[in-house]
Amino acid sequence: MSYFSDIYHGIQTLLTGMGVTGKYFLNSRKGAITQQYPDNRDTLKMFERFRGEVVMPHDENNEHSCTGCQKCEIACPNGSIEIIWDRQVDPETGKKKKMIDKHIYHFGMCTQCGLCVDACPSDAIKWAPNFENAVYDRSQLTRVLNKPGSKVRAGVE
């Protein structure tokens, strides 16, 4: 008897599938996801989850939240991140503390896998939606993410 119910379910599921795609077809006018890129260069806004390059956001006091824990450096599968750090005396507590000197990001090697962003315990780095990343010289792809003179935000351990 399952023979007939198989036929019934077969037809039913096929029609369900066609219903779904049919809805897409009818809405394609409004919802086309194609970006006609060079034409809409001025208005194109990249999508939330787009992975352009890794950046380190700084606030208005030129402070970031990178503690220099090096988790991103370890997480990176191809060694695109290099952290140059150093122990310094924290002026408030008077204790010695690990601090970054330079957070070097080799954009030319990065595969945009996102493991560093996931690994960072203090959300110091995130994705920026830049997409026109071509440059004329390879050395321009090596970037120092922390701005000169910046320091770690108070309270971030």
Partner: protein, 354 residues
């Protein structure tokens, strides 16, 4: 035998005034052949464009929109590009069969196109075994596929061709039997007569339940015969490269490609003629304007083509064993049962007629 529109009569008398009567027949045949070739090329190009647009809309894309207004000339540009490309081939390919294969496909689909009544008078060849001829011709195409795959000396092409053999031979049965079901209603194989019968209601209405079942089986097996997704194991891109035409390039590839789309149109056109009244307008609303028949015929045929495209962009590809299970365990028994049902309905006069 030839179309008898007024314009063709004029041409006929014009040709007669130019040359002796013995030669006119041949000249007119040539002219009709040229016209059909042109229609064939334009139709193929249009279908490719339609497929690309429809595919884009199903996938929420925009589709070709650069060449010409709304991308209208995209496929013409593609065809010109293919024309100008070098014809390459593999070493150790069987050159004769390799070059022969595309013509098998394209000629068989062209021959099938000749028998359709596009409107009351617009039919090149009203053969009295119409449907039988169509079924026979459509199975010649598979020889082209088999030859192409066999002779290109490429294992992917060979696998593709063999799959095509399996598929076409088994689904041929379903196409034939589902059309046979409808022949029980019409009592004739001649396409013009089949349409004549439908003046008292399209066959899908006349035959109601068994006709609808036959139509569903016809659409499924028709899609399988044209080797389109979800039955596109012949050219399963992710498994076989391009399947049987992997080794073809340039215009020979274009022949395969066009023939595939023309075959799709042919399946839709058979469906239109047998199930949806061919060039008859719904409820006879434009009966007084005979040339509108072309419009109705094309409208119905393209609706069925769209249905096949809808299948393609919805369903995932079947495995070979699933394909054969579907045919031999489901479609074939249902089909045989359906023929009996239809016979009973015709016998007891349960058809719906206006």
């Amino acid at each position: 035998m030839y179309s008898s529109l007024i314009i063709t009569n004029n041409i006929h008398s014009w040709v007669l005034s130019l040359m002796p009567a013995a030669v006119t027949g041949i000249t007119e045949m040539m002219m009709i052949a040229m016209i059909y070739l042109t229609v064939f090329a334009v139709l193929g190009l249009f279908l490719v464009l339609m497929e690309r647009k429809v595919a884009a809309w199903f996938q929420l894309r925009i589709g070709p929109n650069r060449v010409g207004f709304f991308g209208m000339f995209q496929t013409i540009a593609d065809a010109l590009k293919l024309l100008s490309k070098e014809l390459t081939g593999t070493d150790k390919a069987d050159k004769f069969l390799y070059n022969l294969a595309p013509y098998f496909l394209i000629i068989s689909s062209l021959m099938a196109l000749a028998v359709f009544p596009f409107s009351e008078n617009l039919q090149a060849f009203d053969i009295n075994i119409g449907i039988f001829f169509l079924i026979a011709i459509s199975s010649i195409g598979v020889i082209g596929v088999l030859l192409g795959g066999w002779s290109s000396n490429n294992k992917f092409a060979l696998i593709g061709a063999m799959r095509s053999g399996v598929q076409t031979i088994s689904y041929e049965l379903s196409v034939g039997l589902s059309l046979l079901t409808m022949i029980l209603l019409t009592g004739s194989l001649q396409l013009s007569e089949i349409i004549e019968v439908q003046k008292s209601g399209w066959l899908i209405v006349q035959g109601h339940i068994p006709a609808v079942i036959a139509f569903m089986i016809y659409m499924i097996s028709g899609t399988a015969e044209t080797n389109r997704a979800p039955f596109d194991m012949v050219e399963a891109e992710s498994e076989l490269g391009a399947g049987f035409h992997t080794e073809y390039s340039g215009m020979k590839f274009a022949y395969f490609f066009l023939a595939e789309f023309i075959n799709m149109f042919i399946i839709a056109a058979i469906g239109t003629t047998v199930f949806f009244g061919g060039w008859l307008s719904p409820f006879g609303i434009t009966e007084s304007i005979p040339w509108l028949g072309v419009f109705w015929f094309l409208l119905k045929a393209f609706a069925l083509v769209f249905l096949m495209m809808w299948f393609r962009w919805t369903f995932p590809r079947l495995r070979v064993d699933q394909l054969l299970t579907l045919e031999w365990k489901y479609l074939l028994p249902i089909n045989l049962f359906n023929i009996v049902l239809m016979a009973i309905i015709v016998w007891l006069n349960f058809t719906i007629q206006f």
